[in-house]
Symmetry: C2
Subunit: 378 residues, 2 copies
């Protein structure tokens, strides 16, 4: 039995669960989406506006904050909560993913990952112990263990060796754990190989983490593999711990993963797309730069209640985008994050009210492909 | 007697006045500062945040909006108020200043100004009639006449010819005036020549505008000329009409100009400086990128009550700036605009409470040079 996670209701038609995750900075109603606050800020959004749009928990990037401004500086300035003025829960990743995607000249060994900073070329070594120390300095509510995220097309022999190392790293992370009120999540790797995923789950479960993340998905493997490996792994994970599908994803991916039993999600898609002028609506995606919106007086989404949709027309948003105005990134980000949070709220409502049992879809998200994922599961 | 402008109190020690300007979209307590909303947005600030920081009236740029997205489009989308979701008063400039500072290959004749767009090189003709039509389409509460803003070091013969043309243009602007509830302000030119300023005031006054602006200052002439020509011209203007010192300026310039009897101001300094990391505080200007702020836990200004100062440290703001985060522009702009609006509020309080009579200075603004301007006037 865990004290920090309660399942309030399980859906009978799917694997979806309604839960409450308790952290040192408050509770999170799950399923929940975590906006990405890469460098100590969710890009272009004030913390008070995050609160207003329904954000419950943020993700902070250990790699970025470690390199700049530095974890000890953040600790002195009140931890990440004080530094960025966010008093709600924060999950920090381990930095592993960024080392493997951003850093130059990385070399992995049992000791850890040696790499060169993408900022100034300086050399650093991240070990399992080090990433836990950094996350303790950042003061996050949930820390992640160091893992290696392998490419989706990696060979089985490499994936096996890497997964075994990820498990050894996880053990070391648990041993250096010092901060009493910081939850620690293990990460399941194993690439596209069910057998390796299964082995990794059993090893990680034996370590009894506060929660379990599934990594190495949403990295180019395609929708079918994302869904099959994702749901396969979710089913193996202990019922009573939160399940976090890392780095996923599009609205439809998230809805599928909620149905498969995942509770937490993070992704840069809503904010990055916003800055690129791609906006989510109940009628699908929309590229605000298109000429058809030149004189369009309608809001982005007539069914949306966000600040952007309550006040501005598509024509205005197109103008801001074409004029290169900062306000374009601000309003688009508010809208896309509101869309994602409203989506999670609708998932929670559907579970709470047993509406998925009646075959109810989430308009604008599932459409024709409703239940596809469920059918593939059976 | 005018119905749209009331002087509530005059300072006895200076020429400063406390007033109320009534527009179709509400009242403005003067002296007031107008943030510049160049392309239909005050850069990096949401309209609701402008309201919160005390903004009463915005300035919109006719030149920019005419070129993109176009005045007729703005009209169809509810005018500039509806387009940018600002329900308070808006003043639009005539576009003249931008034609003379931004556009390529401009030629001035009695007909108007022919120029090439800085965006795409297309050729346009702005006439006095045309700028009034554009401003009518934009639906601003206060329209400005077309004027030529001459360089501060222009020869007297050119300035005289140009000023005479500006007066002829002003007459034509008044003739095409069509929108009943739109105030129209004349612009006083005349360069650095008191005689030409005096002549221009008398000609413009005969046309009985709703208010009078002083143009051609704050364009590199230096503080002494700004103050001497500014106060000289202010004294000539009719008491019962609002006086607007265009494009000025630094906090100390504005305080001096309030003392000289000006009521309205606009300037890009607070927002542009914010994006460049230069911030106004009660202890003077501060460049947030400086190494000394690396670990500084203090707010920008301990005496400031803005959202930025209530929540964030100098260390965090420095980090955001160095990391190139959009939030840097947002928070810095909120702070600088709050500073400017608080400055205007303190000017109004000083007049209301007769505190300038007692020689009270505005801390952080006037300092040692308090009363310099007043002495020069006498």
């Amino acid at each position: 039995m865990t004290l920090h996670f309660n399942i309030l209701k399980k859906d009978s038609a799917t694997k979806a669960r309604l839960g409450r995750l308790i952290t040192a900075h408050g509770a999170v109603e799950t399923p929940a989406f975590m906006p990405v606050g890469t460098q100590g800020t969710v890009k272009a959004v004030l913390p008070r506006d995050l609160k207003e749009l329904g954000c419950q928990i943020l993700l902070g990037n250990t790699y970025h904050l470690y390199l700049r401004p530095g974890a000890e500086l953040v600790r002195k300035l009140g931890g990440l909560h004080g530094f960025m003025a966010w008093d709600g829960p924060i999950l920090t990743d381990s930095g592993g993913y960024q080392v493997f995607s951003l850093a130059a000249m990385r070399t992995v060994s049992d000791e850890g990952v040696r790499f060169q900073s993408h900022l100034d070329g300086s050399t650093h070594l991240l070990t399992p112990e080090k990433v836990m120390e950094i996350q303790e300095a950042l003061g996050s509510d949930i820390a992640m263990v160091l893992d290696e995220c392998v490419p989706h097309d990696a060979q089985r022999t490499y994936v096996q060796m890497s997964t075994e190392r990820t498990v050894r790293w996880a053990e070391r992370c648990l041993r250096v754990r010092r901060k009493e009120d910081q939850l620690v999540f293990g990460i399941i790797q194993g690439g596209m190989f069910e057998e390796l995923r299964q082995w990794c789950v059993s090893e990680m479960q034996a370590l009894s983490f506060d929660g379990y993340a599934v990594g190495g998905l949403g990295v180019g493997e395609g929708e079918a593999l994302l869904q099959s490996i994702g749901s396969f792994t979710a089913e193996l994970l202990p019922e009573d711990r939160p399940r976090y599908l890392m780095g996923v994803g599009r609205p439809e991916d998230i809805v599928s993963a909620v149905r498969a039993g995942f509770d937490l999600f993070d992704c840069v898609i809503p904010t990055r797309n916003a800055r690129n002028g791609t906006l989510f609506t109940s009628q699908g995606k929309l590229s605000i730069k298109r000429a058809e919106f030149t004189g369009d007086p309608r809001p982005l989404d007539p069914d949306c209640g966000c600040y952007c949709c309550r006040n501005f027309s598509r024509a205005y948003l197109r103008h801001l985008y074409l004029a290169g105005e900062i306000l374009s990134a601000q309003l688009n980000s508010l809208h896309n994050l509101y869309f994602y949070h409203r989506l999670m709220e609708r998932c929670r409502e559907a579970i709470r009210e047993g509406r998925w049992e009646d075959g109810v879809s989430l308009p604008g998200i599932e459409g024709d492909r409703k239940d596809t994922f469920i059918q593939e599961e059976s």
